[in-house]
Symmetry: C2
Subunit: 406 residues, 2 copies
């Protein structure tokens, strides 16, 4: 297949690129490199030294003889160029990672909120409108997030996308319907994924686009079978308070003897998936496209759930780190249960990589190896969700006043 | 109150401006005049001769001694200027009409789809982000549409915004919840109103913004008590295939002896409201703001429902016009029932103006008076919803090939 990977320079996009290239697909990366620019804006860098995308593609070619094609394109701003690109290249599938994906970054300031909404909504809508206009029947695989549902304390089982409801006719008759599972996003970033769902529903229904939406848990780990094969193929590893995801951040904190920072009680339960399983799920989803005219196919792309404080305790046990509690900058329930249905990927053959399997140790090794590259001042989380919360979260666990980088 | 009316130069915004000014409020119009530019793009004009907004404001002042303030501002593009405007003027309420509001226009071409999404999402989000950032606790009253629900053949009663559902816990316990009534928008325009709902839900929940969303039916009529008071205060009257709404279009067609064009079987049921009731509802909603921290207040702003073919028959009976059926350019159910709950406005004192009350005749009089301004070639609807439908709708009822203006 000819596959376009939008956002193929990112944390999940890059290992997906290598995985699909290795399987013999003709892979094209489209990326505006905005994530690298945000590193510059924030004054942070990937823990792992990351080469340019052009250099990484060259190394892969040297190693395997396979070509990766990189196209510098802004999906949110270059509508006409995306359309021209699609018409010229006619991909069989498009994997869409190309969004601003950090919740804390999206809440940093009004500028960051506006950027996140503009970038993410336009990227997704431009892609869909261009596919309709060019008449290209590519399977769209989008990365959404489990976080779109919010985490209330109700503790329902999150189904794979749809909820059965009864709607009532004027004569009192109840008509069973399946609707998109209602979302209650907790940040501007998560909200954009909720907006994406509406865009997908419309374009599947009105134009018969074939769309798969993967509601992904928090990705942890860094290596996959392909990124391990050469030092310069290494994946990016974010540890800062904006882009670093919770488990990876604990592992980094442990590696540099920083206390593991748990926000609030740590009673928030979250869904997780290892990066190796993430790329495998994408492969499975690609092989099972929905039919034209059918509704959006939704998978829950996660393998396990954990309470944040339990994760911290686990990492503390493995590494000897200590745990500290900080005020929670997010407007969210202090404690929640979370049960997620992921039977569709299991049925397609996914064999989950779980936390207990020693991969935790691998991440700590990566963290220790590159510990000299860590800027400790970037480890705390600094974006507060509301004005009231902002007043409470001004100091890091070492007692220093936090600098805002907005 | 100091009230900002975003989109105050438009069809509903202008009579709302006059109505609220007459009641003694300090009214500020914010508009980028994009609707006038779209008239130019399409080569159409309001049936009624419409003066510049500055001139209309001057006439109102001459007549009543009341000042209207006009600010040329693009809500979608000038984020920093909106914020500065809010901080300078500190309105008590903001009424938000400022969106591209024609479904056919939104489906004209990919350019029109992209424009509609960018304009409407950014206008709404910029307003919300700027209110949070500036700390201004203004009541936001937004005009949404009944059309956001789609019109399936299921025929449920549309409640005022929320639906009772049961969600299921892993132990099987069912937890009753109220969720936003699920939307199934049928055009890119309607889709943007569905996106707006998610934005409102988030900002009400995260930041305590006080938001009222009015899900409005199709507005008909042209005059209100204030616009009648001077020829130069007359409201705009759209009759073209993009912006003209169905009942007003029938009345125009009747006035110029053009056949009443019913798409498909005309079995689509729609909700309606007269322009005078529309401005009255906005007044009522303004007086009943939700409390900070509560969910978005949603009203169904309509007074009656009719099947499109019944409306055509009614207009034919009153005027002697003939009815003709054309292929439907929209991807929608051929027949649907529609029952809408509007008890909240009735409880607040709304006394509906219904179709039977002679106002139909007033609209026909307006249409006849300005019939010399009608461009017959602009009367048919030309935007098709999908490529397949586009092939079917190429000729107008007089047999002429339709020119596309995209
Ligand atoms: N990392 C996680 O834990 C996680 C969890 C759930 C869902 N997801 C989703 O998976 C996707 C990928 O996540 P990631 O961690 O790889 O993010 P990332 O930020 O590392 O990668 C995103 C890539 O998209 C590019 N991009 C952004 N906007 C673009 C635009 N307008 N035009 C072109 N390219 C653009 C960026 O430059 C970057 O290379 C995202 O959509 C994210 O929401 C990630
Ligand atoms: N007319 C109807 O039948 C009807 C029915 C249901 C809902 N509504 C809703 O009511 C609202 C008003 O409808 P209308 O018929 O008066 O529409 P309209 O097009 O006549 O007025 C909209 C006004 O908003 C302005 N505007 C658009 N984008 C803007 C931007 N980015 N910045 C500043 N100004 C901008 C336009 O110039 C125009 O003056 C719309 O939101 C519409 O969706 C209308």
């Amino acid at each position: 297949m000819k596959i376009a990977i939008l956002g193929g320079d990112g944390f999940v996009g890059w290992p997906t690129t290598l995985h699909l290239s290795e399987q013999g697909h003709d892979v094209h990366i489209i990326d505006n490199l905005s994530r690298r620019w945000i590193d510059t804006e924030l004054g942070v860098q990937s823990l792992t030294p990351m080469d340019s995308i052009q250099e990484r593609c060259r190394i892969w070619h040297d190693l395997t003889g396979r070509r990766l094609h990189f196209h510098l394109l802004d999906l949110a701003r270059d509508y006409e160029r995306i359309k021209a690109w699609l018409i010229q290249h006619r991909p069989d599938a498009v994997i869409h990672f190309a969004e601003q994906r950090a919740a804390p970054y999206s809440m940093k300031s009004d500028r960051h909120k506006v950027y996140t909404v503009d970038n993410n909504v336009s990227a997704t809508h431009n892609l869909l409108a261009a596919l309709v206009e060019s008449g290209i029947d590519a399977h769209v695989v989008h990365l959404g997030t489990m976080g779109v549902y919010g985490y209330s304390s109700v503790g329902a089982t999150i189904p794979e996308g749809y909820l059965d409801v009864d709607i009532t006719r004027p004569d009192g008759e109840k008509i069973p319907q399946q609707i998109l599972y209602p979302t209650r996003p907790g940040s501007v970033y998560h909200m954009t994924k909720s907006l994406d769902q509406i865009l997908f529903q419309f374009y599947a229904q009105n134009d018969g686009l074939r769309i798969t939406d993967l509601h992904q848990g928090i990705v942890w780990g860094t290596h996959t079978d392909q990124t391990r094969r050469h030092p310069q193929l290494i994946n990016r590893f974010d540890y800062d308070g904006d882009y670093g995801t919770v488990l990876n951040r604990f592992l980094i904190q442990a590696a540099i003897d920083y206390p593991l920072t748990v926000h609030g009680t740590g009673g928030q339960t979250r869904a997780f998936i290892h990066i190796q399983d993430s790329v495998r799920c994408i492969e499975l989803a690609l092989a099972a496209p929905p039919q034209a005219g059918s509704r959006v196919e939704i998978f829950n792309q996660m393998t396990e759930t954990h309470r944040v404080r339990d994760l911290a305790d686990l990492v503390a046990k493995v590494t000897g780190a200590r745990v500290t509690h900080l005020p929670n900058p997010r407007a969210e329930a202090a404690e929640n249960d979370l049960v997620v249905d992921n039977s569709k990927f299991l049925a397609l053959g996914l064999q989950p990589t779980t936390l207990a399997e020693g991969l935790l140790g691998e991440v700590v090794d990566v963290a220790r190896k590159f510990a000299h590259r860590i800027d400790r001042s970037r480890v705390p989380a600094v974006s507060a969700w509301t004005r009231d919360l902002a007043a409470k979260v001004e100091r890091d666990p070492e007692g220093r006043k936090l600098k805002s980088v907005s």
